[in-house]
């Protein structure tokens, strides 16, 4: 019986699961990914069953690795065509459990870096890449991924099965891409990290804790990639810096977006003192480093917009003109409904309600607005500016129908109540 108490480092199990996955895939190949995931889960469950009685071991990460390794050897031997050589290599996986060379559980290992690149291989479906990265690199479970993406676990499970098929079919290996393939692959990796962050950041609901975890995981992956010595400076592109800037500047505000009741706090009302200064600083630093080269990517533009918000000393000081310029350029690159609506908000603040109204009218017949509640909420805001309270009410009610998230709904209810009150007041005056 151990009388020592030891604390478990935050996310130790999740991070270690990712490290062991990459390490075993390196040794056994992607064909064994299912078995590898099983033995790791098995090791974690063994910890769950035994540590409550025996206490946490002195080196919990090494314990988990050892058990996973042993289970892998057992599993390998049960396979019909197991190879003695594979078992030997596994048994001699010393460098991994040697206490002196123990990798920091928060850092990505070489193998994990290669794993990210493999998960972002062009042969894998783009919607599967994020799920695969989260599972195989991040150590998230299928349920966690499903809850974050607001889909069913079965959907995620299917995507992973297909992704693994594609890996086998195209014989994808755990190697860094060839130099000529690196830029495209890096682009894919950037997209995945961006999607990951976006999923975590977007206010559209679900398990708040998981979503914050996703944001920080995206920052962790990006941060490890950009500073990875073995491939430096190939990964430290201006675009990568722009993405890091965007993520840091957005994440700096995460703790003030929702109050203790889980209700939304708008940008106008957020406590700027509570924004994370270290993140803002890192964001600003990356923004400076992004300002090299000739490309003005969407990451650059979005980072610039985020900087306009996050670096403003108060809401009134927000440089809406600059934000509008960025949205103009973004819209040229990506004339999507999302950008158009965001641009209209910028127009509302930088120019006037009429210009915003015109921009929104252009979207009237776009089928994609039907399920996009920010469209309706923005319409309501424009109507409010124009003093058209009945219209505002109608738009808010439409937004209510579309919004899926309980805290968004509560915000809309409050807004509707305020709108009613304003209507009553203006009617009383008339």
């Amino acid at each position: 019986m151990t009388t020592e108490s030891s604390q478990l480092v935050e996310h130790l199990f999740r991070h270690r699961a990712g490290q062991i996955t990459a390490s075993l895939v390196r040794v056994l190949g992607f064909a064994q990914l299912d078995m590898i995931e099983d033995v790791i889960q098995d090791a974690l469950l063994t910890a769950l069953k035994t540590w409550p009685y025996n206490g946490i071991p002195k080196n919990p990460a090494a314990w988990i690795t050892q058990v996973a390794k042993n289970r892998a050897i057992d599993a390998l031997r049960r396979q019909r065509s197991w190879s003695d050589k594979q078992v030997q290599v596994l048994q001699h996986l010393d460098s991994f459990i040697n206490e002196n060379k123990e990798p920091d559980v928060n850092e990505l290992t070489d193998d994990q870096l290669r794993m990210i690149f493999a998960c972002c291989h062009p042969a894998i479906n783009s919607d599967a890449r994020v799920a695969l990265t989260l599972k195989a690199v991040g150590g998230f479970s299928v349920n966690e991924i499903a809850s974050a993406f607001l889909t069913k676990p079965a959907t995620i499970a299917q995507r992973l099965v297909r992704a693994k098929k594609q890996i086998r079919k195209h014989q994808i290996e755990l190697e860094l891409p060839e130099p000529e393939d690196l830029p495209d692959r890096l682009e894919s990796v950037l997209q995945v990290i961006y999607l990951l962050f976006n999923e975590g950041y977007s206010a559209s609901s679900g398990n708040q804790l998981i979503r914050t975890d996703l944001c920080f995981e995206a920052i962790r992956l990006g941060g490890c990639l950009i500073s990875y010595p073995a491939t430096h400076p190939a990964m430290a592109t201006p675009k990568m810096h722009a993405l890091m800037a965007l993520m840091y500047l957005q994440a700096a505000r995460l703790n003030t977006r929702v109050d203790s009741a889980g209700d939304l706090i708008l940008l106008t009302d957020q406590d700027r003192e509570a924004w994370n200064p270290q993140m803002i600083q890192r964001g600003a630093q990356h923004l400076r480093q992004a300002a090299t080269g000739s490309e003005l990517s969407k990451y650059h533009l979005e980072a610039e917009i985020s900087a306009c918000h996050t670096l403003a000393s108060n809401y009134a000081a927000t440089d809406w003109q600059r934000i509008l310029e960025c949205y103009d350029l973004l819209y040229q690159q990506d004339p999507s409904v999302v950008i158009a609506v965001n641009r209209a908000v910028a127009l509302l603040h930088a120019v006037d309600a009429e210009s915003a109204q015109q921009a929104m009218d252009a979207l009237k017949n776009n089928p994609l607005i039907a399920n996009y509640y920010p469209y309706h909420v923005t319409r309501a805001a424009i109507a409010e500016q124009l003093g058209l309270y009945e219209q505002q009410q109608m738009w808010l009610q439409q937004a209510m129908q579309v919004a899926g998230n309980a805290s968004i709904k509560r915000y809309l209810i409050r807004k509707l109540a305020a709108c009613s009150a304003t209507q009553n007041r203006s009617q009383a005056k008339a």
Binding site: M1, T3, S5, S6, L8, H11, L12, F13, R14, R16, A17, Q41, L44, L45, A47, L48, K49, T50, W51, P52, Y53, N54, G55, I56, G139, F140, S141, V142, N143, E144, P153, D213
Partner: protein
């Protein structure tokens, strides 16, 4: 002060979908409970029992029968035990109530160990 035995009964559970993060969280809860008892000098010991049904021995007309205990078909199995110190049942119950085993679907059988006075 007396010693008490906490017998941890549990129904077979499917943990296959549980995430690494959740597993760590559960372990942290157990660890906190245990560490607190250790700090208060109330933790005597604990053992996990192997995940199988053991053996059942009965004497039948002079013959001892040995039968495998149920496991996979059992509704409930004894997973392990803790031994703690407490003044009385009230004290022991107060400690047992905080044991995460109850939260995660298990049942605790609490028995006082009979201290035989010399």
């Amino acid at each position: 002060m007396a010693n008490f035995l906490l017998l941890l009964h549990e129904a077979p559970a499917d943990f296959s979908g549980v995430s690494a993060e959740e597993i760590q969280g559960i372990i942290a809860e157990y660890s906190a409970w245990r560490d607190d008892l250790i700090a208060r000098n109330l933790f005597v010991g604990g053992q996990k029992l192997k995940d199988e049904g053991g053996r059942n021995l009965t004497a039948n007309k002079g013959n001892v029968q040995v039968v495998d205990g149920p496991y996979s078909e059992a509704k409930e199995v004894l997973g392990g035990f803790f031994m703690i110190e407490a003044d009385d049942y009230d004290g022991a119950v107060a400690i047992s109530k905080e044991c995460p085993h109850l939260k995660y679907g298990g049942r605790i059988e609490l028995r006082e160990i009979d201290a035989i006075d010399d």
